[in-house]
């Protein structure tokens, strides 16, 4: 495949740059992202304000630099936590089968019976919009998918002769899981993780856009998008700048995930493709 590796490298570079800029935002941003200056509101692009100012006169460029911090950190932490929950439950169900598996699968089915964003909305709605409830909502709505993929992989691997051989030699279930099963599904999990990062980021952004995610005045891309809605016609760059950032991150994760999938083992990744 021509250019696939290059696209992956480019995406990784792009993502690295955005993460670096977000980390260094306090040192490189020209203004305080929350500095309100009503005399300079809704300015267009200029040398003083590279990306203009918003409806409260805050510098858009500084807010863009800060804007990835909350979303990126939250989606990272939430996706990894989701992965841990889904991974443990999937491995347990896939390895032990029987009653344990039936119980776990019933719970998984229940959680999959409600559309993801619907459940997120309901959870955030009841707990009130905050980072904590966003985190909870993400983990509760996505662990089931993770666990199903992991369970499928574990079930496929554990009937392989080498696992049976190890078992016959007297290895404990714990040993087999740690030494054989977890390393062999690590690739699938990695692909799932990257593609899910993109999903989680979009979900956080969607909720923030509805006013239920990250709350103003936090300088966050999705909050900026929501703030910019009334000025869509007069100041489209207010919306375009954060929009491009969100899309760039989400796209980078997607491309990295795709590249990894092609590199690792395209045939075995079919299930990941089905779900992610």
């Amino acid at each position: 495949m021509i250019g696939k590796g290059k696209a992956g490298a480019f995406a990784a570079g792009c993502l690295g740059l955005i993460v670096f800029v977000s980390l260094c935002a306090p040192w490189i941003s020209p203004y305080d992202p929350n500095q309100i200056d009503m005399s300079n509101r809704l300015m267009s692009l200029s040398a003083a304000h590279w990306m203009g100012t918003d409806q409260l006169g805050r510098d858009v460029y500084s807010r863009i630099l800060y804007g990835g911090r909350v979303s990126l950190l939250l989606s990272g932490v939430a996706t990894v936590s989701t992965l841990l929950v889904g991974f443990c439950i999937g491995v347990l169900g896939g390895y032990f089968r029987g009653k344990v598996d039936t119980c776990l699968q019933t719970i998984v089915h229940i959680f999959q019976g409600v559309p993801g964003l619907t459940m997120m909305l309901a959870i955030v709605g009841v707990l009130g919009p905050s980072l904590k409830s966003l985190f909870l909502a993400i983990v509760l709505t996505s662990w089931a998918d993770f666990s199903r993929v992991v369970r499928g992989e574990v079930m496929k691997i554990q009937v392989e002769p080498y696992i049976e051989g190890t078992r016959v030699l007297g290895a404990s279930a714990f040993y087999i899981m740690i030494v054989h099963i977890i390393p062999s599904i690590a690739g699938t999990v990695l692909v799932l993780l990257t593609i899910r990062m993109s999903r989680t980021l979009l979900m956080i952004a969607s909720l923030s856009f509805l006013g239920l995610g990250v709350q103003p005045p936090t300088p966050d891309w999705s909050v900026m998008l929501n703030d910019a809605r009334p000025f869509l016609r007069t100041q489209p760059h207010l919306m375009l700048a954060p929009g491009i950032c969100i899309t760039a991150v989400s796209l980078s994760f997607q491309i990295i995930g795709d590249t990894l999938r092609d590199r690792l083992d395209p045939k075995r990744m079919q299930r990941v493709e089905d779900i992610a």
């Binding site: 229940i110 959680f111 019976g113 559309p115 997120m120 993109s198 509805l210 006013g211 929009g243």
Partner: protein, 312 residues
């Protein structure tokens, strides 16, 4: 799985969803009795009134009895009264359901109508420039935030080209943009899956035979390739419908469609918990029902499955 097992599975899922909805009501802050009594914003209920109302609503019962009581009410179609509009929640939701359903069906129709033929075309031109462009297109749309997409559509088709109405509800034109915005992501995923499925089928011997017989390309694609490609596709369409149903909220809010998603978002801002519970239940019902229909369809187009069931 036999039909009966599937049915039992669906019922279990619905019961589970009802449990989730019930738990939402339990963990919601505030006392429902107080909320109901002070609904009109004028009354200042006394302690005795609250206690009496708590008794009436069954809030002093053990939690599992409360659930059974609530479930009984739900099965009779009573989801409680909205704190804000003071109307029956189920009536409010049923009134708005057709809008959400039309939107979701429109989006699904777009996703299937655009994604599946697109995937076939990409597979036919495997590793040619159309395929590369198509794959870039797929990657972009699977990762594109739908709200941003909606805004770009509004700018392009309403404000610049004046082809379609910006927002609101009334004619079928109002559904075009929201459906496309909602269905684009799914169409990209379906395109990728169709492409993969068709690429698996094309080298098969029966395709080579059919081609050797001189069958027209169109008939070949329709009868031999598409029908077989459908089998892996139809199982995932059910899953993706969940994404569409959930995502409908965003399209409804941006395009001001008065569907149940927008009603639920309004409910959230007003802390109207019965509305949220109803929303979760309704969405779960639609989703499970849709998946059951998909399962039946799957049996219809996959004769092997039917035959093995008859043998059982």
């Amino acid at each position: 799985m036999t039909g009966r097992q599937k049915l039992i599975g669906s019922i279990c899922t619905l019961l589970g969803a009802s449990l989730l909805a019930f738990v939402l009501g339990v963990i919601a802050p505030g006392d429902p009795a107080l909320e109901v009594l002070s609904m009109n914003g004028l009354n200042e209920p006394t302690e005795a009134e609250i206690a009496a109302k708590r008794e009436e609503l069954g809030l002093n019962l053990p939690i599992w009895k409360q659930y059974m009581h609530w479930l009984g009410m739900v099965l009779q179609g009573d989801l409680g009264v909205s704190y804000i509009t003071q109307q029956s929640v189920s009536a409010e939701l049923i009134q708005r359901l057709p809008i959400t359903l039309s939107l979701a069906c429109g989006a699904l129709a777009f996703a299937i109508g655009f994604g599946i033929p697109g995937g076939i075309i990409l597979a036919m031109f495997h590793n040619r420039w159309i395929d590369y462009a198509g794959r870039a297109w797929i990657t972009i749309w699977t990762a594109f935030p739908s709200f941003l997409n909606a805004i770009l559509f509004i700018i392009a088709f309403s404000e610049v080209l004046h082809w379609l109405p910006t927002s609101g509800y009334g004619t079928w034109q109002h559904f075009i943009m929201p459906s496309i915005v909602l269905g684009l992501g799914t169409s990209a995923v379906l395109m990728r899956l169709t492409r993969a499925a068709v690429l698996d089928i094309l080298p098969q011997q029966y395709i080579v035979t059919a081609r050797a017989k001189g069958i027209h390309m169109f008939i070949l694609m329709l009868r031999h390739v598409l029908l077989n490609a459908f089998i892996p596709l139809i199982t995932v369409i059910g899953n993706y419908f969940g994404g569409i149903l959930g995502g409908a909220v965003i399209a409804e809010v941006i395009f001001s469609l008065p569907g149940i998603g927008r009603f639920a978002v309004e409910g959230i801002f007003r802390r109207d918990y019965p509305v949220m519970q109803g929303y979760v239940l309704f969405m779960a019902c639609v989703y499970v029902l849709f998946n059951t229909v998909v399962d039946i369809l799957y049996g219809l187009i996959h004769p092997q499955l039917r035959r093995s069931e008859v043998l059982k």
